[in-house]
């Protein structure tokens, strides 16, 4: 019985994924480059929110790391894909240090190494933090974001300082971004629906009770944090090779804040919610751009107000926390069983 359902769900999922990629292929050919760019950004947001939700929503450890981790992944991958000549041309203040200056590797290993480097840093940070009370995770990760900025600005032989890295190849396209997003969702959903996911949720719900279940809370928080870091690092590599230019200003706290809005609006603790939040934000924030542009109301000229979008988002976040803590999905997840049950109930009610 269970197995039959599993096969049915598996088939349905496969068909949906194929349909999604057919649609993406169509858009890739016929849509404007503006739309394609937002599609790419949407996929990267999905990678980041689904990972971020693993530590914040599923495991319940409030962390503010994404901007730092995305930066590390982006810089690592970019430094690995740039050719020696490109590096020589980019590093005009001080030359790039050896051996980085003559290394150049393909895109896929580069973004994977970006993920691994990020994961290692997350692990090192996790040791002091998870040993003590989890509260400090937020402040340590927030501080780490500043360190990354300080490092990116000052370690000129590695990061090229404030000038950043320019002229990266635009490897990231629809297939890379959405392909990675699909893989990340596949992995994280697998993890969340396993015994490990239950252990993480147990830590979120009641840490003492989780310990009483024999769960090593230190290692499971660490696992969630490191896995999230890995995928955020990979997302950073994709982002760098989408924008082709990266510099320290790109990875400010704004990025983390936006991701936080996405997972909260989608429903903290729901992977489905994280995906919905990412899609809504990627397209919604484009719509809200008008707030910062100059307008003419009834013949009255109103200049654009920079920062207005962010004011709106921060008010939105506070209101969500006070009045709609569950966001769109709460902690529910999309499932085929849920859909079938929904329709069955409707049919039953009609009968």
């Amino acid at each position: 019985m269970i197995d039959k359902r599993r096969i049915r769900n598996w088939i349905l999922t496969t068909i949906s994924v194929i349909l999604l990629f057919l649609l993406l292929g169509y858009l890739n050919k016929h849509a404007s480059s503006y739309v394609i760019q937002i599609l790419n950004v949407t996929a990267i947001y999905i990678i980041l929110t689904v990972s971020y939700n693993l530590i914040n929503g599923i495991t319940g450890q409030f962390s503010l790391e994404p901007n730092a981790f995305v930066a590390i992944g982006a810089y690592t991958a970019a430094l690995l894909t740039m050719t020696p000549q490109e590096k020589a041309m980019t590093f005009i203040i001080q030359p790039c240090i050896s051996p980085l200056n003559h290394i150049s590797i393909p895109f896929l290993p580069a973004i994977l190494i970006g993920g691994v480097v990020t994961a290692i840093l997350a692990f090192l940070m996790g040791i002091p933090v998870f040993r003590v009370r989890g509260d400090y995770l937020a402040i340590v990760t927030l501080g780490f974001g500043e360190i990354v900025r300080v490092f990116a600005t000052n370690a000129i032989p590695i990061t090229n300082g404030a000038l950043g890295l320019k002229g990266l190849h635009q490897y990231t396209n629809i297939w890379w971004s959405w392909g990675t997003a699909a893989v990340v969702v596949f992995f994280i959903v697998g993890l969340v629906n396993s015994s490990y996911g239950r252990a993480m949720k147990a830590i979120r719900e009641d840490e003492a009770a989780a310990q009483a279940m024999g769960i090593n809370t230190f290692w499971h928080k660490m696992l969630a944090f490191v896995v999230a870091a890995f995928f955020e690092g990979v997302g950073g590599g994709l982002l760098a090779h989408l924008l082709t230019t990266i510099d320290p200003r790109l990875f400010t706290f704004f990025l983390t804040f936006n991701l936080l809005i996405m997972i909260v609006a989608g429903g903290l603790g729901s992977t489905t919610g994280a995906i919905i939040g990412a899609i809504l934000f990627a397209w919604g924030s484009e719509l809200l751009r008008w707030m910062e542009e100059p307008h003419v109301f009834f013949g009255l000229h109103v200049p654009g107000i920079p920062g207005m979008r962010m004011v709106t988002f921060s008010i939105l976040l506070i209101l969500l926390m006070i009045f709609a803590r569950n966001g769109i999905m709460g902690r529910k997840e999309f499932s085929w069983d849920g859909i079938f049950n929904f329709f069955n109930k409707k049919i039953l009610r009609r009968a």
Binding site: Y196, R198, A212, G214, I215
Partner: protein, 258 residues
């Protein structure tokens, strides 16, 4: 019969306040042992010391002859001591079956890579966990609530779920902190049957804190009485019932309340 759990001169002080003074417990395999005493006697503190949630100021805890004093709660659970909590600590937003399955986590047979890649061993073990979880729910009579949110269950069911969840860790010894609290007479008599069944059929050793004298006198083979952190008596239910110190310290107070 061999000794399973032994505490030696446990002293627990909080900022100068002595919650337990010189506790010596000795619990035999397959015994149902009661720990009773008026409120504030230090019973739950004793549980917390045994299960690693508190490190005693002085004294030792031995389980299966090994010193487990100061081990972390999760390590103690892995060695075979499971517990429930006085103020129910379920995972309220997870489903009933998920709550139970959490207890199987320490016995999982796959690593997190296998979960992420969804390899066969992961599916096989998850299916097994689900099946065994349903069996435990059946044992405590909660099968029909398997997919409900744990936090939405009525109080008595939550207590039973907590027992099922503790059993999932496959303990040799089970510590129950006021399992009958909030249960009606029918539920508590079912609870007594369940506890007996756990001992007789699953071979568990049980240490329980309970205020409901009917339950304590009905199933415990040996009882220890605490008052203000001090041991005041130990013996069979019969002996405890007739011990004047106990009547004065505990039953007297209970009568006053009643």
């Amino acid at each position: 019969m061999a000794t399973l759990l032994k505490t030696e001169n446990i002293v627990m002080k909080f900022e100068g306040l002595t919650a337990i003074n010189n506790l010596n417990l000795e619990i035999q395999e397959h015994q149902i042992f009661g720990l009773i005493g008026p409120n504030g006697a230090g019973k739950t503190t004793a549980f917390n010391v045994i299960t690693g949630f508190l490190v005693p100021t002085e004294g030792k805890v031995y389980f299966k002859g090994e010193d487990i004093t100061g081990l972390k709660p999760n390590h103690i659970t892995k060695r075979g001591i499971a517990r429930t909590f006085q103020n129910i600590k379920l995972f309220p937003e997870m489903s009933v079956i998920e709550n139970v399955m959490t207890g199987f986590h320490i016995h999982r047979k796959f690593n997190f890579f296998e979960a992420m890649f969804r390899l066969p061993r992961f599916f096989k073990d998850e299916t097994k966990m689900y099946k065994k979880g349903m069996e435990l729910l059946d044992l405590v009579g909660l099968t029909q609530f398997a997919n409900d949110q744990a936090g939405s269950l009525p109080y008595g069911h939550q207590r039973k779920l907590e027992i099922a969840r503790a059993l999932a860790t496959a303990p040799t010894m089970l510590l129950l902190d006021e399992p009958a609290a909030g249960m009606n007479p029918q539920e508590s008599s079912e609870l007594m049957d369940l506890i007996k069944k756990l001992r007789d059929e699953m071979g568990l050793t049980i240490l329980l804190i309970e205020h409901d004298m009917k339950v304590v006198m009905g199933i415990c083979e040996r009882i220890k009485v605490l008052d203000h952190g001090e041991e005041i008596a130990e013996g069979t239910p019969e002996e405890i019932r007739n011990n004047p110190r106990v009547i004065e310290a505990y039953l007297g107070e209970a009568r006053k309340v009643a």
